[in-house]
Symmetry: C2
Subunit: 218 residues, 2 copies
DNA sequence: CTAATATTCAAGCTATCGCTTGAATGATGT
DNA sequence: ACATCATTCAAGCGATAGCTTGAATATTAG
């Protein structure tokens, strides 16, 4: 009565894909990618209830995408390894290349302004060495506090309008946020470019930067 | 009333993942990876009903994983591009590394025999140039007929027992099948090694070999 | 040991999924 | 136009997913 090994394998592979098939779990993964966190913190960040968050996290754990450990009263979840990020990114790439709807949404984020190609992490590292670039971190302050690209300035999207005037139009600006799923950087770039500033988006976000083994200051 | 762009994007990404979350669709993708095919052929190969197959194929198309074109009365489906294969493979890798259950199933396929590391496609290409290797294609004859690695010999799993005696124990044997989801090659290796033959599995299968831009003879 | 806190479990509800069946649509050849 | 063949559509069914609510289970503090 045992099912075939092939069917059993496919069931397991499907389990991994299924874990990535709910938007709520994708946002959870995006948050966990910023750094390990407990259930309550993740629930706060994502707006899900605690119980719901716990259930989603267990689904992610069953699929091998995250691991958990106890720390006192809390249970801390973290990504299993870099492959989880790679998988999320590949899904994003497939969606961007093949789904017209994604194209449309991303174009909508630019809101008429031209959206230049993102800056690669390598290029940014070079520019940083030259000191010829201003880096904006457009994530919430608490995430910034948990780690950010050295020299980056933390600016909430809401404060961007006020800050824009203080930025040098001559220096190139590079903005980043949580990662490839995050739209803050897109929106920041659009706002800055409308003001005539030379702003581009960083490819990926902090998790990818960190994954490259580059320096992150707490 | 419009939902946020972020939520809309996540919905699209989730759609891609969801397409990969049903075993039936994974087997369909594996078949399509062998070469483009019509609905009826895919239904035959997978054992699904025609209508069911058609519905799954449409889900895959909506997710951008496959494309279709009309050819006379038939509708031919094919993979959108190499990224679909890459995505399937990354899911497999994540499952193999992180899920104990997968480990167990794969070990079960070796059935007590030692399972050596698979042969990389590069290594096989070198060995082929030297002529120091026997290549076995353990897929069904009709798939073999649609394309195979040059010089490969097509052997059904059922006939393997009879063939084994005719194989030179001195020459290394490399077996392959449809791709990383296919278990025929695993089983073939196990059977051959039990007979004392020096057999290893090719990494990936024909689609991956083809994707590397290597020669495939019809 | 008891209280407080963080997480998980369990039950229930609605929406969706995967599959089947039977009818409708599209393209081709006579 | 008609018949034929391949595919898609539409309706229906049982099973499952995602969310909520309320209770149960660790773990630490007092």
């Amino acid at each position: 009565m045992s099912i075939s090994p092939k069917a059993a394998l496919l069931e397991e592979y499907a389990l991994v894909a299924r874990a990535l098939s709910a938007p709520a779990r994708l946002t959870l993964l995006e948050q966990i990618a910023q750094g390990e966190r407990g259930v309550e913190a993740l629930a706060d960040k994502t707006g899900l209830t605690i119980a719901n968050t716990s259930q989603h996290l267990q689904a992610l754990r069953r699929a091998g995408l995250v691991t958990s450990r106890r720390a006192g009263k809390s249970v801390i979840y973290r990504l299993s390894d870099a492959r989880t990020l790679a998988l999320m990114d590949l899904i994003r790439v497939v969606a961007e290349r093949n789904l017209a709807q994604v194209e449309r949404i991303l174009r909508g984020l630019s809101d008429g302004a031209d959206a230049p190609e993102p800056v690669s992490r390598e290029e940014l590292a070079l520019r940083m060495a030259e000191g010829s670039v201003t880096i904006l971190d457009v994530r919430p302050a608490d995430e910034f506090a948990m780690g950010h690209i050295p020299g980056a300035r933390n600016v909430a999207l809401a404060d961007l309008e006020g800050i824009a005037a203080t930025l040098d139009p001559g220096t190139e600006i590079v903005a980043y946020c949580r990662g490839p799923y995050c739209v803050y950087a897109h929106q920041a770039i659009t706002a800055l470019r409308k003001r005539g500033l030379n702003a581009r988006r960083l490819e990926g976000g902090l998790p990818e930067w960190r994954e490259d083994g580059r320096l992150v200051t707490a």
